[in-house]
Symmetry: C2
Subunit: 292 residues, 2 copies
């Protein structure tokens, strides 16, 4: 089964309780709207790739961990899109959850997705119970305080922040949870995989900042130019487009060097290279160089 199919199946399995008898129908619909159809599913793909690189021996546990991380990512998008934050009209090319279902159901859908992320982990860990506490901790720390995505979003409410700390929490932390959880689900130590996740997160963030400037809403599936419009810190704003592009290329190299020794290091590095090409295609890089 392809990683894509595994992830979609795991997400549907994790959301099975949502449609059990007696559920409030609009909240169920809002949760499904937030998760399907998905975006690139980058984080859960990373979890699967790292588990395989570590000699995966419990695919059901990998799948549940990957689904948990994607559900938490979806939850954060729903809440980030709320009127009090970005007030985004669209997400993944269609109405954001609060535009489609109203603000109250968007708040609740985010909450329920966070809870759903943790709901499926216990049963999935029955074959390797000792992996559950470390997995749970890696995932909670990728989302919660003091340095997870919720903390990252909270830095936008502070008058003073460092760009690096903000980006690390807002993006790096959940990427680190994705790599660490992949290793942990396969019975390996998660800690050596933290740096890879953090660097990958930074790489994606720089790419995202470049894309926010260079691409239009149709390609992005959401409005472009939002970092300037919302006065948000951004690598493209801090370093200029050419500087951000150089930083992106430097980070891709650093990421490749961060892959720990493991049975499947080579295919993992190939995957990272392909992702880098997908994120910032050569023609985008050429346009930036030509404009400089």
């Amino acid at each position: 089964m392809s990683p894509h199919d595994r992830i979609e199946r795991a997400l549907r399995a994790s959301l099975t309780p949502v449609l059990q008898p007696g559920h409030p129908p609009q909240l169920a619909a809002a949760m499904l709207h937030a998760v399907f159809p998905g975006g690139a599913r980058i984080r859960p793909k990373l979890t699967l790739a790292v588990a395989q690189a570590c000699g995966e021996d419990d695919p059901a546990l990998t799948d549940a961990a990957a689904a948990a991380i994607e559900l938490l990512h979806c939850a954060s998008l729903v809440h980030d899109d709320l009127p009090c934050f970005d007030d985004a009209e669209t997400r993944r090319g269609r109405a954001s959850v609060h535009r489609a279902f109203g603000e109250r159901l968007a708040v609740l859908a985010g909450d329920a997705l966070i809870v759903a992320a943790f709901d499926a982990l216990g049963p999935a860990a029955r074959r390797h119970l000792s992996r559950l506490p470390v997995l749970l901790r890696a995932i909670t720390r990728g989302v919660g305080m003091p340095g997870g995505i919720v903390a990252g979003q909270a830095w936008e409410c502070e008058s003073q922040l460092s760009l690096q700390q903000y980006q690390q929490a807002k993006t790096g932390a959940l990427f680190a949870a994705a790599t660490m959880a992949g290793a942990q689900a396969a019975g390996a130590d998660g800690e050596p995989w933290r740096a890879l996740g953090e660097r990958l997160g930074q790489t994606y963030q720089v790419a995202d900042d470049i894309r926010d400037v260079m691409l239009d809403a149709q390609v992005l599936g959401k409005p472009g130019g939002q970092d300037v419009a919302r006065d948000r810190p951004s690598y493209a704003r801090a370093l200029g487009l050419e500087g951000a592009m150089a930083e992106f290329q430097r980070l891709v190299q650093a990421t490749l060097l961060s892959v720990p020794a493991c049975p499947g290091a080579t295919p993992l590095r190939q995957l990272i290279r392909r992702e880098a090409d997908r994120l910032v295609p050569q023609q985008l890089s050429d346009r930036i160089a030509a404009a400089a």
Copy 2:
């Protein structure tokens, strides 16, 4: 150590990561504001009481489970108070989180409290790892879909709802999680404790509906008369005050009969009787009878 002291200590322990170096300061302050000083801490007290009734053998695990349930309750209050729901100015006698810290930090504080609830469970279960999956499941189902407190809140967004289903999800589910988690933390089966939690939740809900009508904001620590003002379903509205009072007394008896056979059944029943007297004191009951 008294139950009160155990719970406050467990809550502080669960929130330790919030104040670790590198945290965004306003979000940390908002989370602490949401949790301290607390209300009656009814749910975690129930978890402790049930664990003791079941012959508690791992107090650290009971404490972590009790703290998780209280953090989830606090999170739900923060989100329920948001402008898109109740827009409550006050909570527990002082400013609600969104009034004190703004709407964005209130959304994030609720999210971060949900995550914090799950963060401390893994390490606390190290002595009895096999209890972790069942505890996790009981707690997630008390909060999430299809019938937890988030679902209860979502029923307010539906045009058709049954009062019983709404109250069961909004209040009963987390009470059931509290009793089940107490049993599970002590190594007992949680399922026989579900009915007690659900009935207790219903009892508290009826009491809350009566208090909303009869007591003023100073006693409640929040505005009174909200059920009518917000057109929310309520036992006092559905049954009249006298009918709600009769229902309360019937439920207290049913709750007492729901205590499963266990070493500490007698002190647990005494605790339930004391709580019933605290919730609807004799003089309140007399005033209702006199007005009828």
